[in-house]
Symmetry: C2
Subunit: 121 residues, 2 copies
DNA sequence: AACGGGAATGAAAATCATTTTCATTTGTGA
DNA sequence: TCACAAATGAAAATGATTTTCATTCCCGTT
């Protein structure tokens, strides 16, 4: 596998930590950086593998990459404008544990996302 | 706009109420039905507009259409053998609603999955 | 410095779901 | 029967993502 090109991560940060591969590409072009789209896809994929960014899907199916902090959290995402709020899992954390025990599962993780329309949309 | 071709809805039901457009197409072909892919996309879109089916996204970005009224549930998946258990959302359902309200989001949906190692693995 | 091999890069082609175009067929009411 | 709108689907277009593959870059060794 390949390692992430640092300029890609840097651009994702500059984009507000939330963008599609195509958007990162256009942004870098606009700023005069010379890079291939392929490298952007590869770098983002590598960042996902390393759990440095999350990947979600827009309503239209395009993948959006989001820089994630260390702390475990969940997302509230606007279906229309892509605005994202990091939220606490609250009751989910216990729910996951209880459900897993109940069915004999161990070594668990979980994902939970909420999608909807934000106040502006 | 166009109205939904009834054979498409019937096929989606027969598929367990959960399939992509391409899967509906392949299923109808296998059963000897003559229909164009375009009509399937149009019909599914129309069913979505009429709120007869939901549309979600697979991890790979492909749209999957789900008959509304299918019981809402979540999954507990084994990372190793792929075994899957359908589970109730429990506290999650209220969590999603509360979190959304708190941030001014409306018209929401959510996803939540737990993954781990099952008893056999 | 010259060499060599593996990693990184990116242009171009391939893939694949979905949408658009547009010519043809079908249904329906006057 | 006629006219006309809606429905259909083949084919082309679109657009994101992946694959291919030749070239370039990096780095340690001779
Ligand atoms: Zn919004
Ligand atoms: Zn959590
Ligand atoms: Zn298992
Ligand atoms: Zn739920």
């Amino acid at each position: 596998m390949s390692r992430s090109n640092p300029r890609v991560l840097s651009t994702l940060e500059r984009a507000g930590g939330f963008a599609s591969a195509q958007e990162v590409y256009r942004l870098m072009q606009r700023e005069g950086e010379s890079i291939g789209l392929t490298t952007i896809y590869r770098s983002l994929q590598s960042l996902v593998n390393d759990k440095i960014v999350d990947v979600l899907r827009r309503d239209d199916g395009e993948a959006i990459y989001r820089l994630c902090g260390e702390a475990h959290h969940h997302h509230l995402v606007c279906k229309s404008c892509g605005d994202t709020v990091e939220i606490e899992g609250g009751a989910i954390e216990k729910w996951a544990k209880v459900m897993a025990e109940e069915h004999g599962f161990r070594d668990i993780g979980h994902t939970a996302e909420i999608f909807g329309l934000c106040a502006k949309c």
